[in-house]
Symmetry: C2
Subunit: 143 residues, 2 copies
Amino acid sequence: MPAKTSGSRSSAAVEDYLERILELINTKGYARVVDIATSLRISQASVTNMVQRLDAEGLLKYEKYRGLVLTIAGETLARNIARRHELLSEFLQLLGLDQRVIDHDVEGMEHHISPATLRAIEALTDQLRRRPALLARLQGAAS
Amino acid sequence: MPAKTSGSRSSAAVEDYLERILELINTKGYARVVDIATSLRISQASVTNMVQRLDAEGLLKYEKYRGLVLTIAGETLARNIARRHELLSEFLQLLGLDQRVIDHDVEGMEHHISPATLRAIEALTDQLRRRPALLARLQGAAS
DNA sequence: TCCCTGATTTAGGCATGGCTAAGTTAGTTA
DNA sequence: TAACTAACTTAGCCATGCCTAAATCAGGGA
């Protein structure tokens, strides 16, 4: 079986891991198993398992007991996932929703949004930002 | 353990079943195992399994080899799920997205949208409908 | 250097929600 | 009414991803 690189859809779990790993690397400079586990609120054992799988899929380089780094493919994917997360989050913020609701909904939705839909939401967000009157009207309706 | 009625979050799978069952009942007058299976593109055995579970959860009444009907709780829930699906679908249609993309994304997202977010999107949809100029600008960007 | 401890890994399970194969049921048809 | 067949159910299995408990590793201090 050839190494799976850009093909083969990533699962929601894989996307969550990559997103957190990139975030940890960006903020702390590295991503240890214990940090990933804490951040995702899952056990360290589960993280070890998934990290081995991500290594097998070529999304990161992993050395037992030592640590891990994202591959180019993994980092590119992680960046796209992070960007999607941010765009959705900004869109919902514009609608005046509570940040906890936003975090919950984005976490659930983000794995199911196709590129075309994301582009459309991005364009909509841009337009909404320029229409404060419209926004004011919307934010009255939110929780 | 008391019968679980309105409490306890439904899984995405449960929501998908209820949505299809209501749709079948509305269009054909009944929902047989074989119809549900075909509609959801899963095996009849899987449907039997889930239908028994939905019966145990009080969302429908099921008689072996005979058929099923939604309970009040099940129908209410199914209607809410269907409405959420429609609202999301209409919103994405307004953005000018391809119907196949819409179907795919809504199916994925719908189970993760909270009531507050749904209300906000509903309000946004209402406002967008009144602004053809804005819509025209958006639909240029979509695939 | 030896040991202690926190970090990590392995082993073995569990729940969800799919599947196929092998029966069972019941309505239709001859 | 007997049998055929489509619909349905049961039994047993699989993958994904999570878990806990029990090793194992590695770095720092005595």
